[in-house]
Amino acid sequence: MALAPSSTPMLTQTDVARIRSEFPILKERPHGKPLVFLDSAASSQKPIQVIDAMDDYYRRYHANIHRGVYHISELATEAYEEARRKIARFIGAPEAEECIYVRNATEGINLVAYSWGRTNIRRGDAIVVTEMEHHSNLVPWQILAQQTGASLRFVRVTDDGMLDLHDLDRLLDGAKLFAFTAVSNTLGTVNDVAFLSARARAAGAVSVVDACQAVPRMPVDVAAWGSDFVAFSAHKMLGPTGVGIIWGRRELLEAMPPFMAGGGMIGVVRLESSTYAGIPARFEAGTPAIAEAVGFGVAVDYLTAIGMDRIHRYELELAAYALERLRKMKNVVVYGPGIEHRTGVISLTVGDIHAHDLATILDSEGICVRAGHHCNQPLMERLDVPATARASFYLYNTPAEVDALVAGIEKAKAIFKIA
């Protein structure tokens, strides 16, 4: 995907300095070193605005929502629904009611697998997924296939970490569902969601997009994508843990049976049977993550105020600089495609240093990277590497932190006596 053309100015050093000052955790000094947080792809840090909004919620207007007629319950209900509207606008959802609150993207995908999947997938049907899926967008489809007697088909990954699309239409032929990620959480590969969604639709398959790594880091417009379901988590985009969204097209959601049942999602309940509420309530059984929704809304405000196109471009700048420096290092292997096909997520290995050992040594320098399979075991098999270290960049990172990463890798090489 090419850079979206934009007339808004770049994030300057001053902007980034201000942003950094709003993230309290960046003042921490693990092992006495400044925190260099390069693991935002796993979970981002939170600005003070988000933390304060939840604090304020609990201090001033916490109450259960929807069923309360008193003042603080009205405030809580309104804040919960206002956050839904903000999130809907943020991703270009035609209607706020199409945005269902879930715990995380994983639950969102499972909701589709249970509610849409169990209703529509039958023995002999085909489900298409890709070889670069996070376990959360793979294992639910494996289980659905096992339980229904459907078959799985796989879009393969090329040696440079891109989707191998040469036989896509053959794979999609007769398929009922196509689940794919917008951005690889291991390689940073950016897929063409609009193209893939259109191919799915042309084949009569429903598209399920794992947008966990896309919504935090680039402008997203689900209507322009033309997808059917899109899942993402608040905690990766400056929001709190415990909340995420599954967006779906109204016609699809309205035709789906409930996933979980209980308080808040019902119409008329009799002992023997019940009717259910419309969307989004039908899919939000029980007391929801209210404070978390409020925090999520403020996270979206924060990102919107800066501008997703600027965040995207800044992250690409950091990634380009990191790739340039890392590719020059001896005995460092960087995985994934070139900068024109990726975003700020970089997987690498260093000589015969296992990724865990590398991460431990970087940690001793205050540098946080992830090590392991990144919930991408099949992709690791495909790349024939047991584990990688992964550095991921976000709006609060700096070129100096890229330099710190490079210096940390040099120290690891020295300790392991590698040239």
Binding site: H31, D352, H354, A355, H356, T360, I361, S364, A371
Partner: protein, 131 residues
């Protein structure tokens, strides 16, 4: 190099040596006890094969992949149990393994350091459950 002395201590020469030149590497044909396990969160994997005669470990081989800590720890463990009685091996605890390594391990890496011991104990438990 004294500014990363903590890491130098962790990855001291004999750990790197055991990592790069694991003792008792390989597998045994028709082992008397055998087990393989992995740490699913990080992907470290170890298999241990044992030949046991009259309650004594005559031979042991291990095969694995993973970080320096897990592989060196397993290598050291195989060295320490060869010729030992099963009853003595039963008595080996986490502390013994960590003492053998001679380094201080953070909570997140403890599972790495102890994977070899876990596999060894499982292999023996399986064997003596079968008998």
């Amino acid at each position: 190099m004294n500014d990363f002395s903590g890491m130098d201590a962790l990855y001291r020469d004999f750990i790197l040596d055991h990592y790069r030149n694991p003792r008792n590497a390989g597998t045994l044909e028709q082992p008397d006890a055998s087990f393989e396990d992995l740490n699913p969160l990080c992907g470290d994997k170890i298999r241990m094969d044992l030949r046991i005669r009259d309650g004594v470990v005559e031979d042991v081989k291990f095969k694995g992949r993973g970080c320096a800590i897990s592989q060196a720890s397993a290598s050291l463990l195989t060295e320490s149990i060869k010729g030992k009685r099963v009853a003595e091996i039963d008595a080996i605890g986490k502390e013994d393994v960590l003492e053998n390594l001679g380094i201080s391990i953070s909570a997140a890496r403890l599972k790495c350091a102890l994977l070899g011991l876990k596999v060894l104990k499982q292999a023996l438990a399986l064997k003596y459950a079968d008998d």
